[in-house]
């Protein structure tokens, strides 16, 4: 590794801090993530080239910034997004959500449990933003139908907090999971096996706290139950199903997709091609269903998100060459060096606090780079994963899904300030992190 003057490292550290600060102020800047990281990627590449920090491998035939991008991560996100977009057009997710609404009989307590369940599952299978949009929208419509709009704020907040719990369930449920998990070499099944018990416990704790905090109670009288049951019965789950064959096809394909992703690391040939291949292969199969108009699915791809990751990987690669990661790593090492108990806890809590005020993806990417080489069974990986995911529950800007929750809250003209969110959400986040601390120390 070449020598880099400390002044250069500090200059690039400043650039990294400026980028993270800009991402935290994304709303104020009225600029999308991809634009912010794109600008910093251009600056980093130019400065890196001028300062001779980046060296082209002699046999390289691609532009030097192309190999800087972690394409396995990009392709997993791209393939899954495409696949989920096509299958969701069949109405399977809306159908499930409405079916559960009817099964609740309109009882608010049952409804919150059911919505909590689908929020977690949808966050795990789809992504936390999509889950929040589906369940949050349905909550607004169903509570209005039940004439229980006074409970909407509580429902949306609990659901928003649960998206980040659901995002912990599998290796592909959230971006930090994909980045940290793939760097650590944790398989899909191993990830699920270790994360699932925590997700169940944290979900139960969150819903229980939500019921008490927002005074959500069961229907008391038979008349109330009868009336509520009649109101939810007016929902027609089949309205969202455009074509029954497409609907059945999507269910089947979704089952196979989960199976394919889960077994990718142990299936001969597929293990060499990786999860990204599985995601893309299923996306292609799903697209056959809308082969006459695939552009509709292409348009729905979140290009801002994909380009954000691509630029971010470039920035982090340059930071690595500028020895910024070594500098941060020495600070992290100091945290880890606090001991087997205090070290992981310090990493978990500091990670969560950092990700509560800025994007958790750069944090996950930086930490993953720093921890590279640590054994896959180390609890430091899990401290990082839990910290990056759960920190988003402290503030409305901590994760994209809580931002969506707040957007739905405001769309329904309910009062919720930044401070108001923190005041309500912080006790939930603290309980989730205490549970995670216990889990990291004694279970994983």
């Amino acid at each position: 590794m070449h020598e880099v003057p400390m002044s250069t490292t500090l200059l690039f550290l400043g650039i990294l801090v400026a980028m993270i600060a800009s991402l935290a102020l994304e709303e104020k800047l009225h600029a999308k993530k991809s634009i912010i990281t794109g600008v910093f990627a251009v600056i980093c590449l130019l400065l890196g080239e001028v300062m001779h920090l980046i060296h082209r491998p002699e046999d390289a035939h691609l532009p030097l910034y192309i190999p800087m991008i972690d394409w396995s991560v990009i392709i997993i996100i791209f393939g899954s997004s495409l696949f989920i977009d096509v299958t969701s057009r069949s109405g399977i997710f809306a159908w499930t959500a409405i079916k559960l609404t009817k099964m609740s009989g309109g009882d608010p307590v049952k409804l919150l449990w059911y919505y909590a369940g689908i929020t977690v599952v949808f966050s795990a299978v789809l992504n936390n933003v999509t889950a929040m949009i589906i369940v949050g929208s349905l909550s607004a419509v169903s509570l209005k139908k039940l004439e229980r709009e006074n409970l909407l704020l509580g429902f949306l907040l609990v659901e928003g907090l649960l998206t980040n719990i659901g995002g912990l369930l599998t290796l592909i449920s959230s971006i930090p999971n994909i980045i940290v998990g793939t760097t650590a070499g944790i398989s899909f099944v191993a990830f699920l096996y270790k994360a699932a018990p925590y997700v169940v416990v944290a979900t139960v704790a969150t819903v229980y706290m939500g019921l008490r905090a927002f005074k959500i109670e069961k229907l008391a009288t038979e008349d109330q139950k009868k009336n509520a049951a009649e109101l939810v019965a007016s929902f027609d789950e089949n309205e969202s199903v455009r074509s029954r064959p497409f609907f059945n096809f999507s269910w089947t394909l979704l089952g196979l997709f989960i199976l394919g992703i889960a077994t990718a690391s142990v299936t001969p040939y597929i293990d060499e091609l990786g999860m990204g291949f599985v995601a893309m292969a299923f996306a292609v199969v799903a697209l056959i269903r809308i082969k006459h108009e695939p552009e509709k699915a292409y348009v729905a791809i979140d290009w801002d998100l994909l380009l954000f990751f691509a630029y971010l990987f470039i920035v982090i690669h340059v930071m690595e060459h500028a020895k910024v990661l070594v500098l941060i790593g020495s600070g992290i090492e100091a945290l880890i060096g606090l001991g087997d108990t205090a070290g992981p806890l310090a990493l978990l809590w500091s990670g969560s606090i950092a990700s509560s005020v800025t994007d958790n993806v750069p944090l996950a990417a930086v930490l993953a780079k720093i921890l590279q080489g640590t054994p896959a069974d180390s609890n430091l990986w899990w401290a990082t994963i839990f910290g990056c995911n759960l920190g988003g529950n402290f503030t409305p800007i901590g994760s994209a899904s809580t931002l969506v929750a707040v957007a739905i809250i405001h769309k329904n003209k309910l009062p919720m300030s930044f401070g108001g969110f923190v005041k309500v959400a912080a006790p939930f986040a603290v309980v989730q992190l205490v549970l995670a601390s216990f889990y990291v120390l004694f279970v994983v």
């Binding site: 409405i98 929208s137 309205e239 979140d302």
Partner: protein, 285 residues
């Protein structure tokens, strides 16, 4: 990435209005006439013959007023207010010399439809050439409304008035002019695809009405086997379409809503139907 508004629309669309069928209670009927006492009994007998479906269903108290009872519009309204009938039966051009004037209900009938909360069954005047024919049977009833989805009262009144074994038609005609106006405006908004908007709006407008009416017909068949329901959903010039429908279908009674929420005056479509269909009994809710 899903769009929040699109997803909400999908869920809102999944909320269906279910028909609530229940024939309204009609235990008192006030028949308002400008006839002399010697003509009233025959007139009442004719009305009871015409509305035999009412007497078949339950014991009905019939009250008939005449020329000497109601000297002014205020006296008529006071009488209605005092008796609070479940149904008022009256005819056009009450207390007017010329009972054949087109395009008008007459002052008394106008006030009845606007200033009272009871449904008004408005007949052609007794001396109208079509009176006898118009009050012969009530075995073909047409329920008319542009906002029929969820308007259970209209359907239920249709069910109440139709004779046993009779035919109840539920009609929904979307106004072409209104539809065209909105599509024209959409055509001037570059963010909206005009073809998609035309197709989707028409599909949703007619689809919702068709779904509701189809389910209502099914429920009527189950709950009231003595009634033969049918539905009609389409786009067109509303008044002309309804006029043609009533004439071609030879309907005996036309049921429609006259009041918009928050106002007593008859709304545009209702008024047009009321003044055009002068030779048919109209139940105005």
């Amino acid at each position: 990435m899903l769009d929040l508004d699109q997803v909400e629309s999908q869920f809102r669309a999944s909320v269906k209005v279910r028909p609530k069928l229940e024939r309204p209670d009609v235990s008192s009927v006030l028949v308002i006439t400008d006839l002399d006492s010697d003509e009233r009994d025959a007139f009442l007998a004719r009305i009871r013959h015409f509305l035999k479906g009412l007497d078949d269903e339950q014991l009905v108290s019939w009250t008939v007023t005449g020329r000497e009872d109601l000297t002014t519009v205020r006296a008529m309204l006071a009488k209605v207010e005092a008796s609070k009938p479940d149904l008022i039966v009256a005819y056009r051009h009450l207390f007017e010399g010329d009972q054949d004037l087109p395009h008008s209900l007459g002052t008394y009938a106008d006030m009845l439809t606007q200033a009272t909360s009871s449904p008004v069954l408005l007949l052609p005047p007794p001396k109208h050439t079509n009176f006898q024919r118009a009050t012969e049977n009530s075995d073909k009833v047409l329920v008319v409304a542009n906002a029929i989805v969820g308007d259970h009262m209209l359907v239920n009144w249709g069910l109440r008035l139709v004779e046993k074994g009779g035919e109840l038609t539920l009609a929904h005609i979307e106004d072409d002019a209104v539809f065209k106006r909105y599509i024209d405006v959409i055509g001037k908004i570059s963010d909206l695809d005009t073809d998609v908007a035309r197709e989707q709006i028409e599909k949703k407008l007619l689809g919702e009405a068709d779904g509701f009416l189809a389910e209502t017909c099914e429920r009527i068949t189950e709950a009231y086997p003595d009634v033969r329901p049918s539905k009609l959903v389409r786009r067109g010039h509303t008044v002309k379409e309804y006029e043609a429908l009533v004439k071609d279908g030879e309907y005996d009674i036309v049921v429609f809503n006259t009041k918009d929420e928050g106002q007593l005056a008859m709304h545009g479509l209702a008024y047009s139907i009321a003044v055009e269909l002068i030779d048919r009994p109209l139940l105005m809710l």
